[in-house]
């Protein structure tokens, strides 16, 4: 609570005590009662009146201070003393509560994004604490346990585990050692690290993320634009009706008293402020964006959050998005040898090669290779290689290699990349290398379906049979294989034409070679955003980890946000209209009007804050 809020709280309490005493005890003397009412009115309301006067001098008429002043002074004029004080008092209570709620939500949203490092320990002549902006590239910084990593860099000394929860929403700590890249915004858990800075602060990951999330509210959603338009017309219209209400009926209707209709008109003025809507809608979006960034999905604007809730089609890239994007030894079929023996021969033969497939075979073997046993390795471009392993000749490669050396072999029809091996000119079996489906991909597809996504399409440049297998396993309805990058664009265009109007198409990819499709789709989602500048730039939503299921969670958050937005719009507008009608017919008191103004604001804000409480949304 800041000083201003404390002060106004004290004023409210004093005025409230005076008001209650006078109402309950009643001094049996109108004059004394009224004087005390006026005193408490001035205590609680003078700041409002002062502001109203200032605003009129600046030509700003329809502002809420002015409206409240007119309404309460009007009430005094028709001798409704308690009413006048109560309206001002509860207006101030509501305002106070509103600023309290805003303050609180500002803080809780700020804490969601509390990844900004305050300082860096830079090693110059001695270790000094400076602000992260002052550190240059190639300087060395020291990070102690419990401290935030202030700038991106490479570990030069020490090992530790990092908590990347704030960046990725991922609770599993990440191990780092010398030579590893570390990203700003993660927290150093246990060891002391020395890090050589590779990016200045403004280009570090943490700055980019903060920038992205803080700027998100400047891209407004349709709902927000609707509310600003509504607010622009609502107040003047209500005020004009109020004026007519005070003047016309007393002239036209017999027995109508001016003071009665003035009272009704004054109630109108109290309800005429659109603040409940104007504050709660952006707050809801802001909360939704905050909640999404907490799980590691950065949404670049309220408009995208709104659009996500209307997702009908999800188009996925395959390699790197649904699959790991790394090769792994799958099935080994050995003939005349054991599987382990075959793998051993293969790993030895591939010892000198750095081809991704060789690496995956060596990884699968996972034992030390005695280099003395491998001689005469010769690569046969585009086919494979030939090696002497422990006095045996090993041929390892594709079908073409077998044909070239006239080896009789049986063709393997399996799915993936097939490696054929011959030992001493005799076919010895095959190793199938496959790109594995991510465990999270199963979860993602299921969640998409559970969330009512009508169509899931996979686009890939990979071979037909591999794509079919992945699509079948995951339960994807539609896939298009063997696509060139430009084909992906044409396919996406087709899908964009097919979807229902007002529904949205989301493309999710790992950000490599996806830029045209990311731009083309309604919402482009890039995965594994950490470290890839191009993806952060091109996408509308950035998922910080490599889990596609985060998209499902983001869609869920967007739907919840939109639900709350709609609730608030309907609730606030209908309460206001009902109270306006009731007071026009003389059925509502000014108390109800005060509720329709500040009460509704407070309730709408509290409703909006529920978004921040989405914890285990999955």
């Amino acid at each position: 609570m800041n000083k201003n809020m404390q002060k106004s709280l004290i004023k409210i309490i004093i005025a409230l005590i005076l008001f209650v005493i006078t109402s309950v005890i009643n001094f049996n003397n109108h004059l004394i009662n009224n004087i005390i009412f006026i005193i408490s009115y001035i205590i609680v309301g003078y700041s409002v009146i002062l502001k109203a006067v200032k605003n009129i001098l600046r030509g700003k008429v329809f502002d809420e201070n002015f409206l409240m002043t007119i309404a309460t002074i009007g009430a005094f004029c028709i001798s409704e003393f308690p009413e006048a004080v109560a309206v001002m008092l509860f207006y101030q209570v509501g305002e106070w509560f509103q600023s309290y709620a805003v303050d609180k939500s500002r803080k809780s949203i700020a804490s969601l994004m509390d990844i900004r490092p305050d300082y860096a320990n830079v090693c110059r002549e001695e270790i000094i604490k400076v602000s992260p902006e002052e550190v240059d590239v190639d300087e060395v910084i020291l990070i102690r346990p419990g401290e935030k990593i202030p700038l991106d860099g490479i570990v030069t000394k020490g090992t530790s585990t990092l908590n990347t929860l704030a960046l990725t929403g991922e609770a599993i700590p990440k191990r780092v050692k010398e030579g590893d890249e570390v990203l700003s915004g993660s927290i150093n858990n246990d060891g002391i690290l020395k890090v050589k800075v590779t990016k200045v602060f403004t280009e570090s990951t943490v700055s980019k993320i903060l920038d992205l999330v803080e700027n998100a509210s400047s891209r407004r959603s349709k709902s927000e634009n609707f509310i600003s338009k509504f607010a622009k017309y609502y107040t003047p219209i209500v005020v004009v009706i109020a004026i007519m209400l005070a003047i016309i009926p007393p002239l036209l209707i017999e027995n109508a008293t001016f003071s009665d209709w003035l009272y009704r008109a004054l109630s109108f003025l109290v309800v005429s402020c659109p603040c409940a809507l104007v504050i709660s809608i952006p707050l809801s979006f802001f909360g939704g964006i905050g909640a999404a960034s907490k799980i590691g999905a950065l949404v670049k604007g309220s408009n995208y959050l709104e659009a996500l809730s209307q997702t009908e089609t999800i188009v996925c890239d395959k390699t790197g998005t649904l699959t790991e994007g790394v090769f792994k030894v799958g099935k080994i079929e050995a003939i005349g040898y054991s599987e382990a023996e075959l793998l051993r021969y293969a790993a030895y033969a591939e010892n000198h090669s750095n081809h991704p497939i060789s690496i995956s075979i060596k990884e699968a073997y996972n034992k030390k290779i005695d280099e003395k046993l491998v001689t005469n390795t010769k690569e046969i471009s585009g086919k494979g290689l030939i090696s002497q392993v422990n006095k045996h000749t090993v041929l390892i490669g594709n079908e073409k290699l077998m044909n070239e050396y006239k080896i009789t072999f049986t063709k393997n029809q399996g799915i993936g990349t097939i490696i054929y091996i011959a030992i001493d000119n005799k076919f010895a079996g095959t190793i199938t290398i496959a790109d594995e489906i991510k465990k999270d991909a199963y979860k993602a597809i299921n969640l998409f379906k559970e969330n009512g996504i009508k169509k899931i399409v996979m686009l890939t440049g990979d071979k037909e049979n591999i794509s079919k297998e992945v699509a079948d396993k995951l339960g994807i309805d539609e896939y298009h294989a063997e696509l060139l990058p430009q084909d992906k664009v044409t396919e996406t265009e087709k899908l964009m034409r097919k979807k229902a109007p007002n529904s949205k198409l989301v493309f999710i990819g790992d950000g490599i070679n996806d830029a045209p499709v990311l731009a083309l789709s309604d919402i482009g989602v890039a995965m594994g955003g950490l470290g890839s500048d191009a993806a952060i730039e091109a996408a509308d939503v950035v998922i910080m980890t490599d889990e596609p299921s985060k998209l499902a969670t983001a869609i869920k958050i967007s739907r919840k946000t939109m639900k709350i937005v709609k609730q608030n719009i309907i609730f606030a507008i209908s309460v206001k209209i009902i109270v306006l009608m009731l007071s026009a017919f003389g059925l509502a008191t000014m108390w109800a009007a005060v509720f329709a103004d500040v009460g509704v604001s407070v309730l709408a804000i509290l409703n909006a804050l529920r978004i921040l409480r989405i914890k285990n949304i999955e």
Binding site: S105, N215, S218, I279, P282
Partner: protein, 73 residues
């Protein structure tokens, strides 16, 4: 055009923020003005050589339309 971000404090309510925003949009040398009541950010684009003039104009509009608000720092 370069993007600038300022902290704007002391805004009364969200409505005042959006009104102030529409007044600031009338300044000719700045573009894409937006005020977020929640983050208290004032974001705009402006040519680098015009930034001082732009700041003066922005402050003038704020003084006139929302005297309780002020740019921090």
């Amino acid at each position: 055009m370069k993007k600038y971000k300022l902290k704007i404090k002391g805004l009364d309510c969200a409505n005042c923020a959006s009104e102030l925003e529409s007044h600031l949009q009338k300044i000719d040398i700045i573009d894409n003005v937006s005020i977020s009541f929640m983050t208290e950010n004032l974001i705009f684009e402006c040519l680098e050589e015009n930034i001082n003039a732009a700041l003066e104009k922005i402050k003038k509009v704020i003084r006139k339309k929302e005297p309780d608000a002020y740019i921090e720092g």
